[in-house]
């Protein structure tokens, strides 16, 4: 069966300050088929979808529908061309009902005056039937489970008769049963001629559902073909490349005694179930432990348990063999733990404050005698860290928001290091920073480990975890599903361990 091309990108390039997110990409979107898009975080998948859906505009290159070149200045422009997108981060209003959310900004009205609630409700009910969901149109979205919210988001696109539907990691929050329903809906849409773009990190899932596959790496398309004969190995090879990026791994040093141990750590989720499920691990002085897993595997939550953000978490922690009884973040920092959070903007930085003030926030005691805080000493220490971490700044008094992502990350790392920790917890340390800054951050991690610091870092980047870690743990659904020393770890083994407990790959493919 032939699938006509509904939309294509030619020589699409998108430049952000400091990085090229998409580099001369050629992409064809087949109608009546599932076009799968795969690549590591930051490979350019989301950028490409943002361009198609009008959130961002190409720096150069063209988007074609048929033979006609189109420009989408706004998401509304794209919607008029029949393009709907379900973002990974849900764009819903928790304070409004399901029906109100679905028709937001395009309310059905009675002769343009008031909202025709009955019509909206009826349409919503029909959509929910089609999606086989028992969700009442009058339920508040905030009361729904995340999986159901995702269904609402999908219904929103369906309500506007999208001809092209982009799904960015739609299954990351869905249960196995909900995934099956979603796949049935996708098959249904396909037979109606809708072109679907499907982004996911779950490779087995992609192979099962996809008709065409496009692999991206560092903004470049490294493979595009029909799904016939594609296997996990082929995808991984194209995602990572044969050579692998070279991160500073030259220093080899002996490990010391155990510096940190976690025993039976569990954290309940507000929706029921466990976000972190009985995780135990141990870390030696000078060791870098990488935790690999998919988004939502419970890795960040585990690190947050360690630093004391979730007082209700169960489990025991030991630093240098001594039990950690402190409950507060401040207490745990004083015991030598330090966290570099994943979400720099919301958890790592205080954007309104100066670079200097951000850097010393955790360690002001160092500069204080009684009620006297030495600003001179503070300035000296900051200057010292700026040199050590090679942070490029005009002045330490400028607001932190004036810095690029890489330099901001270096400030956050400096803040953590200033507390003189013995265990450093790093959540996605390379997120949102360019390749040069990445290499510098990794070099810093290596040399810190060589000084005897124990480092636990979380990443969804296979290449990063393989080349940077001394030992690798894989988490899936809140549990540790694999442990590998660096020597024996393989990409395939890690990917398989990271999918344990998810919707079982049936290997069954629908005839195309």
């Amino acid at each position: 069966m032939e699938h006509p091309i509904g939309l294509s990108i030619r020589k699409g390039t998108k430049v952000y300050p400091g990085t090229v997110a998409l580099n001369a990409a050629d992409f064809d979107l087949h109608m009546g088929a599932v076009n799968v898009l795969v690549g590591e975080n930051g490979a350019g998948k989301s950028t490409m979808m943002k361009v198609i859906s009008g959130v961002e505009q190409l720096t150069s290159g063209a988007i074609l529908i048929g033979d006609e070149q189109v420009t989408f200045r706004t998401t509304e422009d794209a919607r008029r061309h029949g393009i709907g997108i379900v973002f990974q981060e849900l764009n819903l209003f928790p304070n409004l009902t399901v029906a109100e959310n679905i028709f937001i900004a395009r309310e059905k009205t009675r002769s343009g005056i008031d909202i025709d609630k009955a019509a909206q409700r009826a349409r919503t009910r029909a959509l929910m039937e089609r999606l086989e969901q028992d969700i009442d149109p009058d339920d508040l979205v905030g009361d729904l489970r995340v999986g159901q919210q995702q269904i609402v988001e999908i219904a929103k696109s369906l309500a506007h008769d999208a001809r092209i539907l982009i799904l960015d990691e739609p299954t990351s929050a869905l249960s196995a049963a909900e995934v099956e329903i979603l796949f049935r809906v996708i098959a249904d849409l396909k037979s109606n001629g809708v072109g679907i773009v499907y982004i996911s990190h779950r490779l087995e899932e992609l192979i099962r559902i996809g008709d065409y596959i496009t692999v991206l790496r560092d903004g470049v398309i490294t493979g595009a073909r029909s799904m016939h004969g594609v296997d996990v190995d082929w995808i991984v090879r194209n995602m990572i490349g044969e050579s692998g990026k070279d991160f500073a791994k030259e220093i080899d040093h002996p490990f010391g005694e155990e510096v940190f141990r976690a025993e039976h750590v569990s954290l309940g989720s507000p929706a029921g179930g466990l976000l972190v499920d009985d995780v135990s691990l141990s870390l030696k002085h000078g060791e870098i432990l990488g935790i690999y897993g998919l988004m939502g595997a419970g890795r960040s939550e585990f690190l947050e348990c360690v630093i004391g953000r979730h007082p209700q978490a169960r489990g025991k922690f030991f630093v240098d063999g001594v039990a950690l009884t402190e409950k507060t973040v401040a207490g745990r920092i004083s015991r030598g733990l330090a966290l570099i959070p994943e979400d720099r903007k919301n958890d790592g930085l205080i954007e309104i404050l100066a670079i200097r003030e951000n850097m010393t926030l955790s360690s002001l005691k160092q500069f204080t005698r009684g009620i006297y805080m030495s600003l001179a000493k503070e300035r000296r220490t900051v200057a010292d860290f700026i040199t050590r971490m090679t942070v490029k700044i005009a002045s330490p008094e400028n607001p932190i928001s004036s810095l690029s992502g890489g330099n901001q990350q270096k400030v956050v790392i400096s803040k953590a290091l200033m507390t003189e920790p013995s265990v450093l917890l790093m959540d996605e340390p390379s997120r949102g920073i360019d390749i040069g800054a990445k290499a510098e951050v990794f070099k810093v991690m290596r040399s810190l480990a060589a000084e005897g610091l124990g480092i636990i870092f979380v990443t969804s980047d296979l290449d990063e975890v393989m080349s940077l870690s001394d030992r690798i743990l894989v988490m899936s659904n809140g549990r540790v599903t694999g442990e590998f020393p660096r020597e024996t770890a393989t990409n395939t083994a890690l990917v398989e361990a990271s999918a344990v407990g998810h919707a079982k790959p049936t290997r069954h493919k629908e005839p195309v």
Binding site: G18, I307, R309, T328, V329, A330, R332, I333, S334, L339, P341, N346, D347, G348, L349, I350, E351, I352, L353, E357, T360, L361, S362, L364, K365, T368, I371, Y372, M373, L375, K392, I393, A394, S395, N398, P399, S401, S402, L403, S404, K415, T419
Partner: protein
């Protein structure tokens, strides 16, 4: 090098603009002051200066406390009521002492009265802190609640009547109560000396102590502050307690100045305090503001209203003018933020390339 000489004049022009914007409250104060010096008779007389600074001091105390609260990302609407309640407590103690119900009562000297009144202000501040941190009530609502409760309590304390003739009793050592409002230290009114002391203390806390830095951090980004090991709740407790403390001082000073305590005293004082803080460059969204700016802001408001009175402008017009000044201040503040961000970004991109 050529590059540098090219960018230099531009950079300095931006810098000059930035300086003007930053000093805007001070410039406004000078303009307002000069205007009234020329147009209002007797404005510059020594007697007027003393009276005016006493007026300003009352608002400035509240505004200093308010600045900490707003910088921490909150708001304290209860300060006006705390002023009223503390005034009543002071009046009651001066007149009656505490009746223990055994046919005799405990009487206090001035110093003890001051301590007790301050304790009341601190206690209400602590209740605000408790509601906001432990019970998770939004600051606006929590302090709105204590506003009513404290005002009601002030009314109840005297059935709405005034406590008159707070002259004290030499036998109990409370005859010095009037000194707080009327006395002088080295020719300077006591309330001004107290304002200088509290102002310096607050400025020191804000700029030179970890506590001060924590207040700014909590207001800037509470989540990041907590993850950095800052004790967020303790910081919030402090700001509301400090605000209550400042309000208690004002209650003492007013009842001493008037030699009487009326339960409606301090009505809408909280709004003037917020206005002074905002005029001084405090951001309502938290994380930004300076004590010095706030004090200048309080002077702008005080000079403006006293000057207009002396010029015989109707109080209705005064209210309109005050409102316009506040709006103008916030609009200029936005402009300053934009220029500041641009200057920083320019400097940074020069480094990055």
């Amino acid at each position: 090098m050529a590059d540098q000489t090219l960018t230099k004049p531009f950079a300095t022009r931006s810098d000059a603009l930035l300086f003007l914007l930053q000093a805007r409250t001070f410039i406004a104060l000078i303009l307002v002051f000069t205007f009234f010096a020329i147009n209002a008779p007797n404005f510059l007389s020594a007697a007027n200066m003393v009276i005016m600074s006493k007026h300003v001091a009352l608002n400035a105390f509240l505004a200093i406390g308010m600045t900490f609260v707003i910088v921490s990302g909150g708001i304290d609407l209860s300060v006006g009521s705390i002023v009223g309640l503390c005034g009543m407590v002071a009046g009651y103690l001066v007149l009656n002492g505490i009746d223990v119900g055994l046919g005799w009562s405990i009487q206090f000297n001035t110093f003890e009265i001051c301590l007790l009144v301050i304790a009341v202000g601190v206690f209400i501040g602590a209740i605000n802190g408790f509601l906001i941190t432990k019970l998770n009530v939004a600051p606006f609502i929590a302090t709105l609640g204590t506003l009513y409760v404290a005002r009601g309590a002030a009314m109840l304390s005297s059935d709405g009547r005034t406590f008159p003739n707070l002259n004290g009793n030499p036998e109990y050592g409370s005859d010095t109560f009037r000194w707080i409002g009327a006395g002088e230290i080295l020719g300077v009114p006591v309330s001004i000396v107290m304002l200088i002391a509290v102002g310096l203390m607050a400025a020191y806390i804000a700029t030179r102590t970890p506590l001060g830095r924590h207040i700014y951090a909590v207001g800037g980004n509470e989540r990041a502050a907590a993850l950095s090991g800052i004790k967020v709740n303790r910081t919030k407790y402090f700001v509301y307690i400090f605000s209550g403390f400042c309000a208690a001082l004002v209650g003492l000073i007013i009842s001493s100045q008037l030699v009487a305590a009326h339960p409606a005293t301090g009505n809408t004082f909280e709004l003037n305090a917020i206005a002074a803080a905002v005029l001084g460059g405090t951001s309502m969204s938290g994380g930004r503001g300076r004590i010095g700016g706030t004090i200048i802001g309080a002077f702008v408001i005080g000079v403006l209203s006293d000057g207009l009175v002396m010029m015989g402008v109707s109080s209705f017009w005064q209210t309109v003018i005050k409102g316009l000044v506040i709006i103008a201040a916030v609009v200029i503040d936005q402009a300053q933020q934009r220029v500041q961000a641009r200057v920083a970004l320019q400097a940074q991109s020069a480094i990055d390339n």
